[in-house]
Amino acid sequence: MNRPLKQAVRQHFEQRSLSTGQLERLDALMAVNTPKPAGRRLIAKSLIGWPAAVAIAALLAVIVLLPPGPVDDVPMTERIAMEVARNHVKLKPLDVETDNMDGIRRYFTDLEFIPVKSQLLASSNLALLGGRYCSIQSVPAAQLRVSALDKPGLQTLYQSEYRKDVFGPLPVLENGGVPVEVNVKGITVRIWVEKGLLFALTEEAALEPIEPGE
């Protein structure tokens, strides 16, 4: 059947839609990060009254705080590890290529924190390659790419503002905490808090020979 080009093109695009899961992730991304001006809240309250405002606030809290579907029961460290590992595997292009933290700081000016060097990694012989804007659990993050000088392969190091309301309790290095290690997708993800920032570092499992008969 022949149709005008305009109609055919419109239908071609309208057939493409974000899935419910994708929409929920984007909603959460915006809900966590959108600033809420006090003036606007007051106007909303005066227009719709306290009961409705409380109900809406409660609904929003449920939407934001409870992730959808089967991940409800998954511990936060595993959710972080899954997200970090998934993005590590994608190896998306870097926004900025630099071998030093000054270059990183000059680039990441839209974050509400300053990327820092980790004391924990000071002796790890990691060479910085660059970074890109990203997020963990919808909180804006710097995704840095590093490579170990003594090992092949690339590693991903996330840094994000440590939002306890989002991430829950995590080991704080300054308090003697030891990084949590989670294994997902063939990748070990170490997660810890240092200098008020959440860190997550990937390390791909070593290629070990498979013994005959295994």
């Binding site: 005008p4 055919a8 093109v9 493409r16 974000l18 929409l23 991304l29 915006m30 959108t34 804007y133």
Partner: protein, 162 residues
């Protein structure tokens, strides 16, 4: 905060550039992450702002991936034509996918802005930071490309039938 219909529209805009749903989602997510701190309060302005980030990021990436790009992002050869030249093209339903696959990203973007968002040539020029003459030139080439593709497909079909 953008509502869901707006996000669907932005996703489709991303699809017009990337021609791949996963990449379009990544592009939208990246743009939202960058835009959230600075996006204007006005919903329309915020949508345009996100769309602009998506476009810039896509072009940056495209340039990185294609050292010898087959599409020019900067052509400035105005051609005086009627901007309605696309209106009279009629295509068969099965031709849409092959035409979309054949087009360059900015040609698909142009089609999207024209067909889905209902933009005029002037509005497309403003949305894409291009001179109106450049947009008209692209429309002209787009028409030739689509008609050429239809003619090739027609010839192939006739050859197959004989």
């Amino acid at each position: 905060m953008l509502d869901r219909p707006v996000m669907q529209g932005l996703f489709r805009y991303g699809f017009s550039l990337t021609h791949d749903e996963d990449t379009a989602y990544d592009l939208l997510q990246d743009a939202l992450e960058i835009s959230l701190r600075k996006a204007p309060d006005n919903a329309d302005a915020a949508t345009r702002y996100v769309q602009r980030i998506m476009r810039n990021r896509f072009i940056d990436q495209y340039r990185r991936d294609h050292r010898h790009p087959t599409v020019s992002f900067d052509d400035k050869q105005p051609v005086v034509i009627d901007p309605r030249v696309l209106e009279d093209i009629v295509i068969a339903e099965h031709e849409v996918e092959s035409i979309m696959a054949m087009l360059e990203p900015l040609e698909r973007e142009l089609l999207f802005l024209w067909a889905v968002e209902g933009c005029t040539a002037q509005e497309i020029a403003e949305r894409t930071d291009s001179p109106r003459g450049t947009v008209l030139s692209r429309i002209h080439r787009l028409r030739q490309k689509i008609i050429g593709q239809q003619a090739r497909a027609g010839s192939a079909a006739e050859g197959g039938a004989s």
